[in-house]
Subunit: 360 residues, 2 copies
DNA sequence: CTGAAAGCGCTTACAG
DNA sequence: CTGAAAGCGCTTACAG
């Protein structure tokens, strides 16, 4: 065995001499297909294996310059723990037809570029005890996790304890400071949807608001209020109705709003499913969209462009949000310190479900 | 160290005595959260670690009864190699909003039950050389592969060479005998869609057929023809129009069919997207569905229930097909010999886009 | 067929 | 801060 001093001076050569029949000192034992191991990095850096282990796992007890040198080699040789597999996890509470695919696509795109496999996990409802998705996920030792499921504090602690970085996708509740997340600008989206209606000349603009327990719903509602104020319109509490984020919820709320004596000329729904419920209600009441009532949704689900009339809605950049979350998670997995909290801008997509009330 | 004989008699106890402060002999070192290791299985079975290793990896050189005993313990304690890649791959050519999620769900459900992670891979168009999805997939050494992408003969050969079993999901071309696949009963589905229209009393039933290169489209067309014959109706070649499987394709074909002098009273579209194109065409021509023309689709995409009127369509059990493909692939991965070729029954979902021509 | 021995990549606890 | 030592789960090559 060589001394540490000898290793520091001519590390690569000494490795080659001690180990194998090497001609190319760039690769361990001269075999380019052989994975770079912790011992190779240690020898090349002129430090011990435990020191590299500490750097790799982000543990303290390594001098800054030593750490820097080792990190440089790790990145130069593309070292990865052989049993730390090259996969990340994408966790859903439940795989939703309407939203899921855009998220999956965004994650997949970035992961593919970085040559990381994506394991898709569905936690399912807690009472559904089929399988052990959480334990199985931890056993896979993923490089990082992007979670669409709202993890409990316990689950987050468990990931932290196992040193698996994670990013929460579109959090529905307030997270403690320091928990990485990617969301959308819900407040700004609610504001621009409402401003659009006000600019078309609507004065009686109703909102079907979602449940208060969902943070994004509150933000959308506040955006609605803010835009009304800016437009010099008062917030009429009769024009705000709560409903679950479903087609049925939207339908019932809209029947309520549209059956009254002084019905609104426009409805902003908290999401597209609710907006489709407004379509149903309008049909039932014999009202035309947008001639009798304008409708704006939120999300821009694929179905929004397919319905009749095509739905004006606030586009959530799910694909880009997912990509950003994945980049963040993978960076954390590499031990980098990215910005850990992002909201991506929503954009209003104007289709044919809105018009000026003058047309009515 | 205890002798093998002593271990065979009181294996669990001996492990507890030798190792730790155990009270519950059911779990290694008394810790139920601690994973079951190869050494625990070896000691419990009264064999050496290498012997268990051979069993786990399916290598020869183990007596049949020893193997059986070890396998029983492995299954009893749910042993899994800590670093073993307990993953399978689900491969898409392109992740499609409309179809993908149901497939993913079906795969996920079965994989979760069998405690296997699902790595989702998108091959992407060949010219898109970002990443190396195929090589990366092989490097992950998955237990098996379910592929929605139509693999080339070469790719199939490569998987075979690496001993990775695979199942083709809904093959669009004829496969060589012996290639495992799961599809749907396209011919029967085309037949029942057409029979439904004939039973409603339609005599002029048109079909928008898909491209001939897609096997399932040919089957649906033949099902249409077969049902017409059974109903005593002649196959009028003017009533069969080819179109790509898109909304635009369906629209153009429907405009063609519905603008003629003797227009059909019903249209069977080869898929739901085409059927949505028929909706557009009808709107443009001022025709009502189903009053002026009945429409049947194929696939039962989520959007089918949401459009106005809700679309009568042939339901493809994508979820069950995916589950069956996954069971097949995992069984192949375990070295079993399942039935390797299945078509799952489609079912007609009658909604509101079809009615008797008498109503017209 | 079986398992002792050597070895691999990596982690942990701890002495200096 | 550093790394020698012990240890872990597992694999491989080989002696019996």
């Amino acid at each position: 065995m060589l001394t540490a001093g000898a290793m520091m001076k001519g590390a690569r050569l000494s490795y080659a001499e001690s180990g194998g029949t090497v001609s190319d000192p760039e690769h361990p034992k001269g075999d380019p297909t052989r994975p770079v191991t912790i011992s190779y990095i240690a020898e090349t850096a002129g430090v011990s294996i435990p020191t590299v282990s500490k750097v790799v796992n982000g543990r303290p007890g390594v001098a800054a310059d030593t750490r820097a040198r080792v990190e440089a080699l790790i990145s130069e040789y593309g070292y990865r723990k052989t049993n730390r597999k090259n996969v990340m996890e994408l966790v859903f509470g439940e795989l939703e037809d309407m939203w899921g695919m855009e998220i999956i696509r965004g994650v997949e795109r970035v992961a593919r570029e970085q040559r990381v496999g994506v394991v898709l996990t569905e936690f399912g409802p807690p009472q559904d005890s089929v399988g052990h998705p959480i334990g199985d996920m931890l056993a896979r030792r993923p490089a990082c996790v992007v979670t669409v499921a709202q993890l409990s504090q316990e689950q987050r602690d468990e990931l932290q304890a196992k040193d698996i970085p994670f990013v929460v996708f579109d959090p529905t509740t307030e997270l403690p400071d320091g928990v990485p997340y990617v969301g959308a600008t819900n407040w700004a989206g609610g504001r621009s949807a409402t401003r659009h209606l006000a600019q078309l000349g609507h004065r009686r603009i109703a909102m079907i608001a979602g449940p208060d327990r969902i943070l994004g719903c509150r933000a959308r509602l506040d955006g609605y209020r803010s835009a009304l104020e800016v437009a010099g319109l008062s917030v009429d509490t009769d024009l705000v109705v709560r409903a679950e984020l479903t087609t049925q919820g939207g339908r019932v709320a809209a029947l309520d709003l549209l059956s009254g004596p002084e019905r609104p000329t426009a409805i902003f729904a908290c999401n597209d499913l609710q907006a489709l419920g407004v379509y149903q209600a309008a049909r039932e009441l014999g009202l035309r969209i947008p001639a009798d009532v304008s409708v704006v949704g939120f999300d821009d689900l694929p179905v929004a462009a397919l319905v009749d009339p095509p739905l004006t809605t606030v586009h959530q950049p799910l694909n880009q949000m997912a990509a950003a979350a994945t980049e963040m998670a993978l960076a954390l997995g590499r031990g980098e310190r990215p910005q850990i909290g992002l909201e991506l801008a929503t954009t209003l997509t104007v289709r044919e479900s809105t018009s000026s009330p003058a047309d009515q």
